[in-house]
């Protein structure tokens, strides 16, 4: 069974491949908000998320002919965005390692920690501390507004496993939120 809204996406994909750029911009307009929300909570920075979202759509346009009908367009662009987020995180980590070494050579300074600077506020920090699969499932579900079926397909796990990962993520966040309130 196809996910709701998928049929319309297919006609827009076909329209784009037939040369109608306005069809691709309709796809952008339809998916840019959940994608930006998902990427923003993932990278913790609006400008960086904007860059990744733009890159995701440009890459989708360029490779649209290679897009396979096995998944929805939405699942596909979220997969591309998630890969870009992970690549960015790896690059950030490499940079952070270098920066941390430089900082250690200098005198300690008051102010936000490196982790706070990179990850932003408390919620982002808490979510970022989750294991990768739980974090991905949570982000795709809450901010990406994807179904567990779509999430499972994206991450190469069963729908049931996606739900269990989501359950674990919520359980852990509940503990943290409880500690915060106490």
């Amino acid at each position: 069974m196809e996910e709701p809204g998928t049929q319309n996406d297919w006609s827009l994909v076909r329209g784009t491949l037939a040369g109608r750029r306005q069809d691709f911009m309709a796809l952008v307009e339809k998916h840019q908000r959940p994608l930006q929300r998902f990427v923003e909570q993932r990278v913790g920075d609006r400008a960086a998320a904007d860059e990744i979202v733009q890159m995701t759509f440009v890459q989708a346009y360029t490779h649209l002919a290679g897009f396979r009908a096995e998944s929805s367009f939405k699942t596909w662009i979220f997969s591309v965005a998630l890969n870009l987020c992970r690549d960015r995180a790896r690059a950030e980590k490499r940079r952070a390692n270098v920066t941390a070494e430089e900082v250690l050579e200098k005198e300690p300074q008051a102010g936000p920690s490196l982790e706070e600077t990179v990850l932003g506020g408390t919620v982002e920090r808490r979510v970022a501390a989750l294991p990768d699969r739980q974090r991905s499932v949570l982000g795709l579900r809450i901010w990406g507004d994807l179904s567990f079926r779509e999430i499972g397909r994206m991450l190469g796990i069963s729908e049931n496993s996606a739900k269990v990962s989501y359950h674990h993520a919520i359980h852990r966040l509940r503990q943290w939120l409880g500690e915060e309130r106490a």
Binding site: G19, R33, T62, S136, I170
Partner: protein, 183 residues
């Protein structure tokens, strides 16, 4: 302590909390939740924590942000920028394929030159490098209103310049995006 039955109900509790569980499974889970304080607390968390996260996240950008984002995408596509030459780590895969072929191309060129000299043939002419067109500042409206025939050529050329140069491994990479295998 979470019992065996509770552990087996994790996925069902998610559906139950979302209101996506149908009878008779819903009745069965409901009966368990009413007798199990741990699962009752979990259902409450499954309903409250996502809402709490939504409240704590920074406010959404305004319409100008979304319009600027669309314009950025449209301008990049309008310029015909190939994503495989943008210096971002996630989209460098096609260039890896190209650079792998460089030694072989150089060797082939060297052999051709040497063979040409040996046979006293005129030196092969080196073709001029194609001129890369400058960036255009076309507006989003102009981009969208472009005639379909012109757009059709653009899509075709993009396919020619990108997909045709990809080897089988990159095709697999693309398939991985849709299959979710590379994640």
């Amino acid at each position: 302590m979470i019992g065996l039955r509770c552990a087996r109900l994790r996925a069902a509790l998610v559906d139950f909390a979302d209101g996506n569980l149908e009878d008779p499974a819903r009745v069965s889970v409901e009966r368990h939740v009413s007798a199990c304080p741990d699962c009752a607390a979990t259902v409450l968390a499954l309903r409250e924590v996502p809402a709490e996260l939504g409240r704590r996240i920074r406010p959404e950008p305004d319409e100008r942000f979304w319009a600027a984002q669309r314009r950025g995408i449209a301008d990049t596509i309008g310029r015909g920028v190939r994503t495989d030459v943008v210096t971002h780590p996630a989209i460098r895969r096609p260039t890896v394929v190209f650079w792998r072929a460089v030694p072989a191309l150089a060797a082939a060129a060297l052999i051709a030159v040497l063979a040409g000299d040996w046979m006293s043939a005129p030196a092969p002419q080196i073709a001029a490098r194609p001129v890369v067109s400058g960036t255009s500042d076309e507006s989003l409206a102009a981009f969208v209103e472009e005639p379909a025939t012109v757009a059709s050529v653009d899509v075709a050329s993009l396919e020619d310049t990108t997909l045709a140069s990809m080897d089988e491994s990159f095709e697999d990479t693309l398939a991985g995006y849709s299959d979710g295998n590379l994640i």
